[in-house]
Every structure is written in structure tokens, then in C-alpha cells.
């Protein structure tokens, strides 16, 4: 074969090689494939359908296999997203906490009024525009921010005050981010929604580590040897004291730490109980929930006054928890949400000190503050997350 023929031959071979389409190298994202397939079939069958629109399908196709993606909220609703969420309005601190942990707090554009008071916990987020109260959102303020998404508690505010007034293209996701039974799945869901699975997984690994650790330490304690705990939030609304039982976060926390709630078979949820009943029950430990303190550095006195409010009740000297110095106040910004593993270790240490001798609960909390909040571990010295905390 002459040189010129040989050259043309190789040229043809090269052209053939380049002209043959290579197989599409798609990621194996079965969820996106399933969702977009169903949406395409639905659209072909009825192009006049409301959702998804052809523009949403164009968008999803351009972003496949990253999108579409779906999540379920804690109210049992499923949401499909065809493109990344870029602007979020949050109606409570717990949602801000969750988004901070997974590293998407920069997407928050509006917050509930209550969050603006938490400048130490949320130094940047607290400066964002207010969208009203968490129970009474300001719809006009939300609309003015043109968010892609609103995150609210599972049950509050009532849909009549929120969803009813928002257009369909602003979905409201209902997540609590403080209940033990749903916390894990909610964190996984927001990790997936915001394409931050890696951050969510890394956090949940830390979360699981301490929940597993506490469980291992307490699981072999026989029921009759478990510490009997009275849980409350201070004075009763009508009489006596406000006790916390099944269905409350405080109950879940003390049970996870190996305690037995003395009110478990006496009341459901929150209810007033007679002081005499508490004395008669002789609890070995008392856990008092406080909505004060935490990252609010000027509320230490309020936390301490809750402690004194219980230890000072008439006849408290007959309560073993008081006489043995096993009364504790735990704040909501420590006990629930993303810091709950640190709180669990702390409560476990209070209830069963001999089983947690090798664990420094305070350092677990400091580790949390350093890794998963907008603050640093120094905030531990400034805030009051529980009491007694050894600072006085």
C-alpha cells in the first residue's frame, strides 16, 4: 500500500472511531432515573398536567442524574425537587440548627423572629430578615423573599396560617429536628435535599457514636436497678409542678440515658402534678427542662432560679434527689436537636456516674460546639447549657 493510501486508510479509521458515539456514562442514580422516568411518562400521557411542567422536565433533564430528587417530611408528605434549592425560609431555631450542621445555612434568606434573639448561636443567620413569629408567620414577608422552600415544625404553625397562603411553587416542609424518633431521618432527608449527604453522614456518624456508646453502657442495667427520675419544667400552670412524661423530648432523653420516668404511668405528655405526689414518689434524680440560658449568656440567673425553685419546695429534703444533690437543669438548646448526643452523654453521666467515669461529657459538648455550630467551643464558658455546671 502506498504512503498516500495508507494515510487515507488511517484517516478513515480515525474518523470512524470519533464518529461512533460513546456510551453515555451515567451515574447509577436509581432515584433520579425512576423519578424522571415517571415524570416523562406522565407528561407524555397528559401534557396538560399541572406538575411537572415541561420547563421543570427540561430543567431536570439538564441536571440529571443530580436531579430530580425527592424527600419525605415528618408530616408524611413527599416533595420532588427538579433543581437545587437556593433560598430557604426557616420558621424555627431547630431548622437553622440542622441546616448549620450540614453546612447549608448560607441558603437561609429569612428567619422567625425568635431566631434573631440568638445572635451567639447564629451570629450570621440571626441578622437575616424576620418573617414573623414561628406560630404566626408574616406571609407578606415570606413572599417578599421569594424563597424556593419554607421549613416549619411538624405541627406548627397551622397550615391555615402558612401553606394556605403560599403558592404551589413555595413548598412547606414540615420537620421538627428535635424529636429523637424522627431526628435521624430528618437529617438524612435535608442532607439529600441540599445535596449535602456527605456532611449529613459525617454528622450522623458522630450522632450514632454517642447514642450507641450510652446504650452500651446502660443496656445491661436491670429495670429494678434503673434510676427513678422525675422530669419537669418548673411550677405547674394551675397547681403543683409541671411534670413531663411520655411523648416529650425530656422523657425520651432520660429513658435513652437509662432512667425510668416516675410519671410514665401517671400522666401523658405534660401535666400539673401535686408536690406531695413527687415527694411520695421519692425520685432518685430530677431533670428540669429550661427554655432559658443555653447560648443566651444573660440568662444564667434564670436557669439557676429554676434549680432553686425545685430544691426549695416545702418537703424537698425528703426527696433523695435533693438530699443527694442529683437535681439537674438542662436547657433546650443543649438537650434537643443536633447537640442531643452530647446531652445524652451528660444525662447518662448524671444518672450512672460509675458507668461513665472514663467519659468527659463536657469535652463531648465542646467538640460538638467546635465542629457543628457557627460558634466555637469558647461559647461553653459564656453560656449556661445545664446546671450545676461547675462554674460557680
Amino acid at each position: 500500500m502506498k504512503n498516500s493510501h495508507l494515510f487515507v486508510f488511517w484517516l478513515l479509521i480515525a474518523a470512524l472511531a470519533f464518529a461512533t458515539p460513546a456510551s453515555a456514562a451515567y451515574e447509577n442514580d436509581s432515584e433520579a432515573r425512576y423519578l424522571i422516568s415517571q415524570d416523562i411518562l406522565g407528561y407524555l400521557r397528559n401534557a396538560d398536567q399541572e406538575e411537572p411542567t415541561i420547563n421543570e422536565l427540561y430543567q431536570a433533564a439538564s441536571l440529571y442524574p443530580e436531579y430530580p430528587r425527592s424527600i419525605n417530611d415528618s408530616a408524611g408528605n413527599t416533595f420532588v425537587f427538579y433543581q437545587p434549592v437556593k433560598k430557604v425560609v426557616i420558621l424555627n431555631n431547630n431548622a437553622a440548627d440542622a441546616l448549620t450542621v450540614i453546612g447549608t445555612d448560607d441558603l437561609i434568606v429569612g428567619v422567625a423572629e425568635s431566631l434573631k434573639e440568638n445572635s451567639l448561636q447564629f451570629p450570621e443567620t440571626s441578622t437575616l430578615p424576620s418573617v414573623g413569629k414561628w406560630m404566626e408567620p408574616d406571609i407578606e414577608a415570606i413572599l417578599a423573599l421569594d424563597p424556593d422552600l419554607v421549613i416549619a415544625y411538624g405541627s406548627w404553625p397551622d397550615p391555615e396560617k402558612l401553606e394556605t397562603h403560599l403558592p404551589n411553587d413555595i413548598p412547606v416542609i414540615r420537620m421538627d429536628f428535635y424529636k429523637t424518633e424522627t431526628y435521624r431521618s430528618e437529617m438524612e432527608a435535608v442532607g439529600h435535599l441540599f445535596n449535602k449527604e456527605e456532611n449529613a453522614d459525617e454528622y450522623l456518624e458522630w450522632y450514632d457514636h454517642y447514642f450507641d456508646l450510652v446504650n452500651e453502657r446502660i443496656q445491661d442495667i436491670p429495670e429494678e436497678e434503673r434510676v427513678r427520675v422525675y422530669a419537669e419544667a418548673g411550677e405547674g400552670q394551675s397547681f403543683g409542678r409541671r411534670a413531663y412524661s411520655t411523648g416529650t423530648g425530656l422523657h425520651d432523653l432520660l429513658v435513652a440515658a437509662g432512667g425510668v420516668n416516675i410519671a410514665e404511668e401517671y400522666i401523658d405528655g405534660y401535666a400539673d402534678v401535686e408536690t406531695e405526689w413527687i415527694i411520695y414518689q421519692k425520685p432518685e434524680s430530677v431533670l428540669i427542662w429550661s427554655g432559658k440560658g443555653g447560648y443566651k449568656t444573660d440568662e444564667r440567673d434564670l436557669v439557676i432560679s429554676q434549680y432553686n425553685g425545685f430544691t426549695g419546695i416545702t418537703g424537698s429534703d425528703k426527696i433523695p434527689a435533693v438530699s443527694e444533690g442529683r437535681v439537674y437543669v438542662i436547657t433546650s438548646s443543649f438537650a434537643f436537636g443536633s447537640s442531643s448526643p452530647a446531652a445524652l452523654v451528660q444525662v447518662g453521666s448524671w444518672l450512672y456516674p460509675s458507668r461513665f467515669e472514663d467519659i468527659d461529657a463536657q469535652s463531648v459538648h465542646e467538640q460538638y460546639l467546635e465542629k457543628y455550630t457557627q460558634t466555637a467551643e469558647d461559647v461553653w464558658d459564656e453560656g449556661t447549657f445545664y446546671y450545676p455546671d461547675g462554674k460557680d
Binding site: 407524555l44 400521557r45 427540561y58
Partner: protein, 145 residues
Amino acid sequence: MPKTRILLLIMIALMIFAFPAGAQAERTITNSDANGVITVRLVFPEGTIGGVTEEIPSGYEFSGTSHPTNQTLVEDKRIYFAVIGEEEIVYKLKGTGKTEISGTWIDFKEEVNETTVKKHETPGFGLPAAIITIAIIALLRRQKR
């Protein structure tokens, strides 16, 4: 014309005609077999995300496909396919009568709404590329003389 310029032209021509022009879907239909089954083959450009609606011709009914079940919907005389990166869909129809099939195609990735699924014409480079190749060979032979 210098040889290098000719070769350059060849390369350009091959590149232009070898790639599919735009996001088009094409259909090939085989003749009916002894059981009255025809095989329909649809081909798509690589990396496509789209949807096909095929009208089942009178006298025929849907007989099966190798396409994933959750990407296929058969309803009355229509078959809907979601195409997620597949470059080919093969399906079968059974019956008697004319095998004229009409269908439409939406390319969601290229944002092309409702084009007709074309009848597949020529394999490989297509007719223009074949003509150019023959012409090149003839030209080279003349130069040799």
C-alpha cells in the same frame, strides 16, 4: 489541489456527516415473521433524556419490549417510552395489516418539543459521507496515474 488540502476537506466532511444532525429519533421496522410479529427498533442520539409516543397501527397490538418496565407505559393504541440515556429501544407488535407507524419525540435535554420519529434511512455515515469517500478514492487514483 494539494493533497493536504484534499485530506483536510475529507476530514471535515466526515466529521460533519458522521455525527447525527441534532437530537433526532429514528425508527426501523422489520418484516413480519411467521407469527405475525414485527420488531420495531428506535434509535436515539447518545446521552438523550427524552420521551417517545408511538401509535400502534390498526390491526396490531403491543407484544413486548426489552425497555425497562418502569420506563414504559402502554395505553390503548399508544406506547410511551421514557428514554434515559438509552440509545436504542426495541419493541414488538403482533397482528396483521400495514406496518406504518407514526410517533413523536420530545428531547428534554435539548429542549426540543414534539418532533416526528423519522424512518431510519441509511446505516453508517449516511449517503453523503459514502459519496465523498468514493470521490476521494477516485481522486487519489487519478493522482497516482
